[in-house]
């Protein structure tokens, strides 16, 4: 049994269509070629990041719309006004596209992935992990959820931990778990089909 531990970045990259390899991985998991495991904390973190970034784009869009309205109202530079309005629309479309993508990605992941709980044991272990990392974010909870998943780790033939953070990968590797930086490497290592 192959186990791939995924995280927040995987969810967002797939939702935004930024890394085609994430789709290859998801598709392979849907065909039972591998098992995905995902700390529930990462689902929360992905939603938080998405909700934090969305209003910022909305504010930019509103500002561009306001500039466009002023130009068009005063019949100043209507071409520029339309360009502002188009840019505002593009920012809003991006929000809508990423929202739809996130909904679809989570729907698929919640159907096929094993969710690792944020239990008391995970919180306690995260406290021990935190001093080993320089950044203050959710990485200790992410790592702790995986390290607490002992029963799965013991049964697995092959395990890969996916993380874009070099320090996190180094910590996990120091605990004997192979870590890679991107879904592309998982696709290459496990020879997953790209379809």
């Amino acid at each position: 049994m192959k186990i791939l531990y995924i995280e927040t970045h995987f969810i967002l990259a797939h939702a935004r269509g930024e890394q085609p390899a994430t789709e290859t991985v998801l598709h392979a998991a849907e065909r039972d070629l591998l098992k995905l495991a995902l700390p529930v904390f990462c689902v929360y973190e992905a939603l938080q990041k998405h909700r934090r970034d969305t209003p910022e784009r909305e504010q930019w869009a509103s500002r561009l719309d306001e500039l466009a309205r002023n130009l068009e109202h005063k019949k100043l530079d209507t071409d520029k006004g339309e360009a502002f309005r188009r840019s505002a629309g593009d920012l809003r479309k991006l929000n809508d596209t990423w929202q739809r993508g996130l909904d679809q990605t989570l729907n698929r992941l919640l159907r096929i992935a094993t969710l690792l709980p944020l239990s008391r044991a995970v919180v306690d272990r995260a406290r021990l992990v935190a001093p080993h990392l320089r950044k203050e974010d959710g990485d200790p909870w992410h790592i702790a959820a995986v390290l607490e998943d002992q029963s799965t780790l013991e049964q697995a033939d092959e395990v890969i931990f996916l993380s874009g953070d070099k320090e996190v990968r180094a910590f996990v590797e120091s605990r004997g778990i192979e870590a890679v930086a991107a879904a592309e490497k998982v696709v290459a290592k496990w020879s997953l089909e790209k379809d």
Binding site: R69, A88, K93
Partner: protein, 140 residues
């Protein structure tokens, strides 16, 4: 669903609920009912429900809607591409609605009396309920 919160000319609360329709929300009637329940819960005096197909306006949320406009007719003039409206999600739709409300207030795109829906809203006494246009987006 998001709500644009407005103050009418006499300070009364008006809400404009943006209800995008997509693969996950094909039940128009159900969504409209939910939106009206929301209006009652948050004690809006006047209430609008907007999706890309229609705009419904209530002077009194306990009774039948007062005005019904074709969403595409009203909103398409604020989209840079006519096809944009077909795929409009919540954020994009909200942008079109904000531009429409600003047009009703300041006539930045159409002259007075020519803003899409303006005559119908005026005939039902709903124009003044849209107020000064001091808008803020909020999700209840």
């Amino acid at each position: 669903m998001r709500v644009i919160d407005l103050r009418g000319s006499a300070g009364q609360r008006t809400g404009v609920a943006i209800v995008p329709l997509d693969a996950h929300s094909s039940d128009q009637m159900g969504l409209t009912k939910s939106a009206v329940s929301l209006a009652k819960m948050f004690r809006y005096t006047t209430w609008f429900v907007v999706n890309r197909d229609r705009i419904l306006g209530w002077r009194d949320v306990d009774s039948q809607w007062s005005v019904r406009l074709d969403g595409r007719d009203v909103l398409s003039s604020y989209a840079t591409e006519p096809s944009d409206l077909s795929e409009a999600g919540e954020s994009f739709l909200a942008g079109l609605v904000e531009n429409w409300l600003e047009d009703l207030r300041a006539h930045w795109k159409h002259p007075p009396g020519k803003v899409p829906g303006e005559v119908e809203l005026g005939a039902h006494g709903l124009l003044e309920e849209l107020g000064t246009g001091a808008t803020s987006a909020a999700t209840p």
